[in-house]
């Protein structure tokens, strides 16, 4: 835990430098012929979406470890990952409609990917709600939600995909040429560095909160 905390400042510096450079890197990519400028939101939207999924996975694995081993560090990581899933999910759900309004002409479409993203976002929001309002012992309960959320996510995606593909419609999925792939990977790396830094920072906060609560309890005793 202490080693991870020490990593936070350098990681944040790296992320800040990368985000400062990101507009210039994105500028090297060619304009997409039909969508033009609006397509560039993808360089943030897609990496954030990937980080959200990774974060969900981290939360699920950490929840499972906490549930079966009762290791406090796993719990701190799980709550940090759940919170970051919700934050990154909000960014995905905000940048998506901005693009969709321009490309599809609507803010929202009950497309398979959109629907499963919103369902998974709700699972992690439920995790946080349960933790916040569940009262004592809620970390075990929310760990079960985290574990279920991770295991069920393929089924959610699968069933939603199946539900939508029964009513086929054209989807806009550009195949990525290499001048666009470079900036995309750069942004993915930047968001990932930021994610790891925030994850460690939030886990440290959770650990400090737990230590404080423990101190209060021992004073009362």
């Amino acid at each position: 835990m202490r080693f991870a905390t020490r990593l936070v400042p350098p990681l944040l510096v790296v992320a800040a430098v990368m985000f400062a450079a990101a507009p210039f890197v994105i500028d090297t990519a060619p304009y997409e012929s039909s969508m033009g400028l609006i397509q560039r939101i993808f360089y943030f939207h897609v990496p954030v979406g990937i980080v959200m999924l990774v974060s969900g996975l981290v939360c699920g694995v950490a929840s499972a470890v906490y549930l079966f081993r009762r290791s406090p560090v796993a719990d701190y990581l799980a709550v940090a990952a759940a919170e970051l899933s919700v934050v990154f999910g909000l960014i995905v759900l905000a940048t998506g409609p901005l693009w969709a309004r321009k490309a599809w002409g609507v803010w929202w479409d009950w497309d398979a990917r959109l629907t499963s993203t919103v369902v998974m976002w709700m699972v992690f929001a439920a995790y946080l709600l349960l933790r916040r309002f569940g009262g004592p012992g809620s970390e075990v309960l929310s760990a079960a939600v985290g574990l279920f959320g991770m295991v069920l996510s393929p089924f959610v995606y699968w069933s939603v995909n199946f539900w939508r593909t029964l009513h086929p419609k054209t989807s806009v999925l550009p195949t990525l040429p290499s001048p666009m792939l470079g900036p995309m990977l750069f942004c993915l790396a930047a968001f990932f560095v930021l994610y790891v830094a925030l994850l460690f920072l939030r886990a440290r906060l959770a650990s400090a909160q737990a230590a404080l609560e423990q101190a209060y309890l021992s004073v009362e005793d």
Partner: protein, 227 residues
């Protein structure tokens, strides 16, 4: 294995006996489902006839809403009479407690559906007898999947604060696969041009989801219910 099932059946019998004496859950759940159906009638009936695909949706939303109510109350009873600890102290596997509660909830929901389905059929002209076995299979497998996750989370939340609100908040996103499966399968049977192959496909997927949900719930029940 045999012992676990026997203990589970004893717990289910206990719950059903308590319910048979008070009939609190069955009456309130059925009337709640009816109230849902009534509200849907105002939303989804145009010129005296339900709009297309509405009956399947009305049926499943009523099942899910009333199922949530029944799940929450099934464990509330243990809390009120402070018998949850006694139940957990019973000299059998934790899995037996989960399975017993699940059996009892399923039997209760089956009784509710036995009334609710004909009522929706009558009020919204849903062709219930077009493929009765397929419909029964979809209802059974959908309810099992929903109740499998629901029983686990209702049991967990018994000791949590604001459990009444938290149960649906947690339950609905997690049970999306079974809700989609049941709804779509039923909609294919009720459609003006029914597609039984698709309904059968959803039924097989629901059976698969049930296996995953029950396994996962059995696996997590013991570590979650330790004090």
């Amino acid at each position: 294995m045999k012992d676990v099932l026997r203990a589970a059946w004893l717990i289910a019998q206990k719950d059903l006996r308590v319910e048979a004496r008070s009939r609190e859950l069955i009456y309130t759940t059925i009337f709640f489902a009816m109230a849902c159906v009534l509200i849907f009638a105002f939303a989804f009936v145009r010129d005296g006839r339900p709009i297309e695909h509405a009956p399947a949706g009305i049926l499943w939303v009523a099942i899910v809403f009333s199922g949530t109510l029944a799940l929450a109350r099934a464990f509330e009873r243990e809390r009120q009479s402070e018998t949850l600890r006694a139940l957990l102290l019973a000299p059998s596997e934790r899995a037996a407690v989960y399975l017993g509660k699940l059996f009892a909830v399923l039997i209760l929901l089956a009784a509710v559906e036995a009334l609710l389905v004909p009522i929706v059929g009558l009020l919204f002209q849903a062709p219930l007898l077009r493929a009765p076995w397929l419909l029964a299979g979809l209802l059974a497998s959908g309810t099992i999947g929903f109740a499998a996750v629901g029983t686990l989370f209702a049991a967990m939340l018994v000791r949590a604060q604001s459990r009444d609100v938290l149960l649906p908040v947690v339950l609905y996103p997690l049970t999306v696969p079974v809700i989609i499966g049941g709804l779509q399968g039923t909609a294919f049977i009720f459609a003006a041009e029914p597609n039984f192959d698709m309904a059968r496909l959803w039924l097989s997927m629901l059976v698969f989801f049930d296996a995953v949900f029950v396994t996962l719930a059995l696996w997590t029940f013991a570590p979650v219910m330790t004090e």
